[in-house]
Amino acid sequence: MRTPASEPREHYLNVSYGVRSWLFTTDHKRIALLYLLAITFFFFVGGAFAVLIRLELMTPAGDLVQSETYNKLFTMHGLIMVFFFLIPSIPAVLGNFLVPMMIGARDLAFPRLNLASWYIFIVGGLFTMFAVVAGGVDTGWTFYTPYSSTYSNTHVVATALGVFITGFSSILTGLNFIVTIHKMRAPGLTWFRLPLFIWAHYATSLIMVLGTPVLAITIALVAIERVLRIGIFDPALGGDPILFQHLFWFYSHPAVYIMILPAMGVMSELVACFSRKRVFGYGFIAFSSLAIAVLGFLVWGHHMFVSGQSVYAAIVFSILSFLVAIPSAVKVFNWTATLYKGSISYQTPMLYAFGFIGLFTVGGLTGLFLASLGVDVHVTDTYFVVAHFHYIMVGGVVMGYLGGIHFWWPKISGRMYPEGWGRLAALVIFIGFNLTFFPQFLLGYLGMPRRYHFYPPEFQVLNVMSSAGASILGVGYLIPMVYLIWSLRYGAVADSNPWEAKGLEWQTPSPPPTQNFEQTPVVQDEAYAYWPGEVEVD
């Protein structure tokens, strides 16, 4: 249903002006934008480290930087990308913006806590940026002991504090989402009428709440051990480094599901809208999100197959790791089935969705290689692993994030992005991504270890391909940054529902008023009530 294409007089962006109105806001939509700015900054920082890494790896010799510096490069690339970009990205930006709107609420359950989450995120980021600027940290983002707790001479404590503090941002966001989704759904919005984006964020929030505290206490113990020189994880002092790994990976494996589940939520929205079809197997997708959240906590030992862990425990973790792939596969099958006989259009968000489905499938399947004990002992700590997780994180999460940003951009900003440039960027990103990371599967399989800045000369061709791909990928990321900002001023004004999508967020003007809805909506339809023959998007 089209509404007149004119901006409402007052909405959340122009209701008040000035820095104070942003820094003291409790409006979930403004907080989402505060997060958007922050994580974009961190994406640049993490990306800068990636550039340096790929530059170094153009030649077999370690000739750009020294070993010690290279250790810092990959550590900080990982830390910043994981904790300050990937984990917050979709939940803190799109989740914050959309969760209340999709359920017909005026805000999250605890708006001030939401703002506190952002400030906590910033403080954690500041600690980490201090460590980066003051000389860096070189332990690997995984902080393995006793190197991190005893022997490293870099700014481990500052970084550990940064990660510790930021963890609470994640916890509080998850808490806010859980309570909001349970208690603030609009009348008629039963659980099985919820958009799958909400199910995904609910499952993500469960993980945030249950896993992050364990990381927090573990990283705090590392910092304490470092400062007080006690031996909780140092074998020379009676401690056990494997204990650290158990505690660390208990969070850090589910963390990858914190990253991917929201992107999967975005996928369901995009695939439904751009096939003009209800999502196939709604219930299966909803429950598969929960299954991933639960099973994801049972598999962490697959990061420790060569650590000295018990073989029997390893076997159990291996089996469970195969199991956790099943709900993800269910989603991919169901999205594919949604596409079948749908009326598909190829707008930018849909291009990202297609990219996601293909790349996530590759990443997921290679995860099975790694879950298999016999293969893992050969490819662990090689570029095979690096390629696997970048296919998921970048091919999956970042594509999902960009697809979501484009899809909801008219709602967020009241403007359309330029479609031609959007499609071009998506294509450049897809090509750049594959050129960067596919060679890394080959490199890893051929034996190139990760975290080394030199390698045997026979690996150079693939490394140069990867670096070339990275430069294309970088260009691909810059293009949307330019045109999205451009669109704020010069983009076509968007009406409330430019995609003719289903969902409560599209029933309110673009940009929305502060309280989201003039009147609380009452829901009677199922989710994705797309019917064949309805008005089509051009």
């Binding site: 603030m184 249950l210 206490i217 113990l221 031996g231 056990d240």
Partner: protein
């Protein structure tokens, strides 16, 4: 969780829910669920250390028992009892708020604060003893026998776990103080006392952590 406008009397004045909530019931349920979810995060937060403790106790049972005997059962049991008393007074404080009894509410809140402070006082005495006995992990740690390192592990966990617990007590006492001030100004009534109930949940949780800490740290083997 805040009420829309200031109020001066407990009884008839109706509170207004915060703007994001439709009614007081929704607000109350949301804040209660929020506190329970927060307590789950606390279970996992402490749980990481409980897990580490379990691993090491399983690995070094005799040394842990020896180290545990250096703690004072008397002080530990006394502290446990004090904390249990404080849970009682906290529960009675919540009950007073439920029943609209402002003076009783304030009285029980203050009692809880006093008991909590007594707990912390005894804890400091214990810490001081450990300092004098050179049982604080680090450069000054001394323990007889060849497995001193493992005993130091025990004490690392002792200080980390009771320290984190004590920090939670301090925060709890501060919140109780705020509640006393708010109660004094007539902020709570039977229709809206969520802050008191949720603080109670937090306080009881901190008590439960101690209920497990006490036997695990103090009572490994007293034979």
């Amino acid at each position: 969780m805040r009420i829309g406008q200031g109020r001066s009397r407990l009884t008839e004045i109706h509170a207004v829910p915060a703007h994001q909530f439709d009614d007081l019931d929704q607000q109350r349920e949301a804040s209660s669920l929020g506190m329970w979810v927060f307590l789950v995060t606390e279970i996992m937060f402490f749980g990481g250390m409980f897990t580490g403790y379990t691993v090491y106790r399983h690995a070094y049972p005799e040394v842990f028992a020896d180290a545990s005997r250096r703690l004072s059962v008397v002080l530990g049991a006394l502290n446990t009892s004090i904390l249990i008393c404080s849970s009682l007074t906290m529960a009675l404080a919540v009950r007073s708020a439920q029943a609209g009894k402002r003076r009783a509410l304030i009285g029980f809140l203050v009692l809880t604060m006093l008991l909590g402070s007594a707990f912390l006082g005894i804890k400091s005495v214990e810490y001081a003893h450990k300092f004098h006995e050179h049982l604080v992990p680090g450069a000054t740690f001394t323990f007889p026998g060849p497995r001193a390192q493992h005993a130091e592990l025990f004490f690392s966990f002792y200080f980390a776990m009771t320290g984190l617990h004590a920090l939670h007590m301090v925060i709890g006492i501060a919140i109780l103080g705020a509640l006393v001030a708010l109660s004094w100004r007539g902020r709570f009534c039977p229709e809206d006392y969520a802050a008191v109930e949720n603080t109670g949940l937090y306080w009881h949780f901190v008590d439960i952590v101690w209920i497990f800490l006490f036997p695990l740290l103090y009572l490994i083997s007293r034979t």
